[in-house]
Symmetry: C2
Amino acid sequence: MADKVRIALDAMGGDHGPGVVVAGAELALSRHPDSEFLLFGNASAIAPLLDARPELKARSRLTHTEVAVRMEDKPSQALRYGRWKSSMWLSIDAVKKAEADMAVSAGNTGALMAMSKFNLKTLPGIERPAIAALWPTLRGESIVLDVGASIGADADHLVDLALMGAATARILFGLPRPTVGLLNIGVEEAKGLEQVREAGRILREENFADVEYKGFVEGDDIGHGKVDVVVTEGFAGNIALKTAEGTARQIGEYLKGAMTRSLSARIGYLFAQSAFRQLRERMDPRRANGGVFLGLNGIVIKSHGGTDAEGFAAAIELGHGVVREELLARIRTALAGHVRRRPEPVDQLLGGAAS
Amino acid sequence: MADKVRIALDAMGGDHGPGVVVAGAELALSRHPDSEFLLFGNASAIAPLLDARPELKARSRLTHTEVAVRMEDKPSQALRYGRWKSSMWLSIDAVKKAEADMAVSAGNTGALMAMSKFNLKTLPGIERPAIAALWPTLRGESIVLDVGASIGADADHLVDLALMGAATARILFGLPRPTVGLLNIGVEEAKGLEQVREAGRILREENFADVEYKGFVEGDDIGHGKVDVVVTEGFAGNIALKTAEGTARQIGEYLKGAMTRSLSARIGYLFAQSAFRQLRERMDPRRANGGVFLGLNGIVIKSHGGTDAEGFAAAIELGHGVVREELLARIRTALAGHVRRRPEPVDQLLGGAAS
C-alpha cells in the first residue's frame, strides 16, 4: 500500500465551486494527514484560497483550466465542450494516468458519469457503472446501489451490483461477508419484477463467498438496516434515495414548528438542546455525503452539489477509505466469480441522477 | 345524492380481524352518522362485538361466512378458495350488486385487488387498476399513485393515472384543477424513462381541463408537497411509499433515543410534551391510512393490514368522502377525454403490494 493517498479534485464542481472544495480539502487533510491533492480549475479563484491555507497548499498541486462543466447541461453537451480540458475531465484523467488514486467532484452527476465512463472505461463484464450511496440506518449504515447511474437492469446486472456493493461494504464496514437484499415490492418469492426474481435465484444458487444473500427487501427495510447492501436498478434507487431525503427534511420542519409553537415547548427545547443537536447530527445529510461510482477502472466519488465544506470533506474521506483498502482490486476479484448467463441488450443508458 | 352512505366491510381482514374492524366502524359512525354498514365474516366473532355497541348494531347488517382470505396467500390462491364465499369477496360483491357504495378491507392487498378486478371489472379504456395513497406533505396532503397495484406503465396508462388521480384530488382536496407531476429522476426534459417523457408530452399537449400538469417531480418533491398528484408506475411508487414510511419510523426512533439519553433531555421532554404529541400526530401513519383502488367499476378502499381502530376508521372515512362526492362519475368523465394512442401490450400484471 502506498504511503499517501492522492486525490484529484474538480475544484469548479457543485453549487458553490472552489470555496467549498478547498475548505473541504482542508478539513479532510486535518483528519487524514496522508492526503495529497491535485486541484483542477480556475487558478485565479483557487490560488488565493490555497494561499490562505499554508498546510493544505504544501500538500496540493494546482492545474489551471478555464473550462468548467455547468450543472444544468446534458451529459452529451458537457462531453462536447468539456472533454480533454474541463476541470471535471482533468480530475478524472488524473486517475486514468495513475497520477491520482481517486477523483472527487460535486459537479453535474450525469456529466461526471459520462466522462468517467468515456475516459476510465468499465471493468470487464460490466456494461454500465452504478452509483452507490451510503444510507444511515437504525443499525448504522448500509450501502444502496444503483441510485441513479442508469435505468433498468437485467438479472446479471443486478448480480454485478450485489457483488460490487458487497465488496464496498466489506471495506467500509469491515465485514467479512456482508448481507445483501434485492429491493422489491412484497417479500414473497412470487412477487415483483421478473429480473429481480431471477437475480435472487442466481444469488441463492451461486452462493458467492463474499455475499450473504438475504432475499427481497422492501422500501421500509432500508432505514431499518435489515441488510448491509440494498441492490436495485437506478430509477427505483434514485426515487428511494430522494424520497428518504425529502421525508427527513419534512419531519425536520415539523419538529422545528412544534418546538417553537408554545412557551413551554421553547423551554423544553432549551433543556433538551444537546439532545436536539445529537438528533440533528444523526439526520444531517452531510454525514453520509458522497456516492461511489462502481464498475469503472478507477475510483470516482460524487459529492452532493449543494453541500458545504463539511459535506465535501465527508465525500473525500469516503474515497480515502475505499482507496486505502483497495476497493478496485476487491471488486475485480468478486466479479471474476460471476459467470454471466447471456449477453442481454442493455435497455437504456443515461446520466440519470440530478446533482 | 343518497341520504346515506352504505359501507361493506371485510370484517376478517387485517392482522387484527373483527376487533379492529368493528371498533373502527364505531368511530367512523360517530363522525359520520349517515353511515350504514354491511359486515361480512365469522358471526360468532363479530356478533358479540356488535352487541356491545348498540348504536353501531342498529346501523349494521351482519352476513356470516366461514371463509377468510389469509394475509400470506398469493392472489391466485386466494381467488381459488375465496371466490364467491370469502368475507373479502362478499364485501366487494355488495358493491357490485349496488347494495353498498364502497367496500373496505384491511386484508391481503394482492387478493383484494385481484378479486376487485375479477368482480367489478375495470372502467372503459383502463386495463389495470391502480392504488392511490394519501401522502402527508408540508403543504397538507397529496395523492400518490400507483403505489403497488401493477408493475410498469406505458405512456397511456400514466396519463390515465394522472386523470384518475386528479379527479380524486378534486374531491378530496376540493380543488378545481389539481396540479399533477410525473415522478422521474432528474427534472430536465431529456432525463428519465422514455414512457414518462412521452406521458409528459401528452399531458402538456392535451392540456386536460381538470389537470394542471407541472412537469417532472423527483422523490424529494413528494414530501414537500410540490404537486397535488404524483403519478408513477406501481414498482417505483410502492418503493417510494415504503421508503418514506421507513424513514419516518427511523427518525421517530432517533428522536425517542435522543429524548431519553440525559436528565436535561428528559426534563426538556416534559416541558415540550404537548409539542411532541402534536409532532407524533403529524407523523402518525394512521392519519393517512387507506389506499383507494382506482380504475374499477366501484369503490374499494384498502386499509393498512396492521392498523388499529383509529386507522381503520380513517380508511372508512376516506371512502365516505369520495363516495359522497361521486368519485366514480367524475373519473368516468375525465377518462372519456383521453384518446389513447395505441393498444400497447401490458408487460406484467400482479397483485403487487404486500399488505
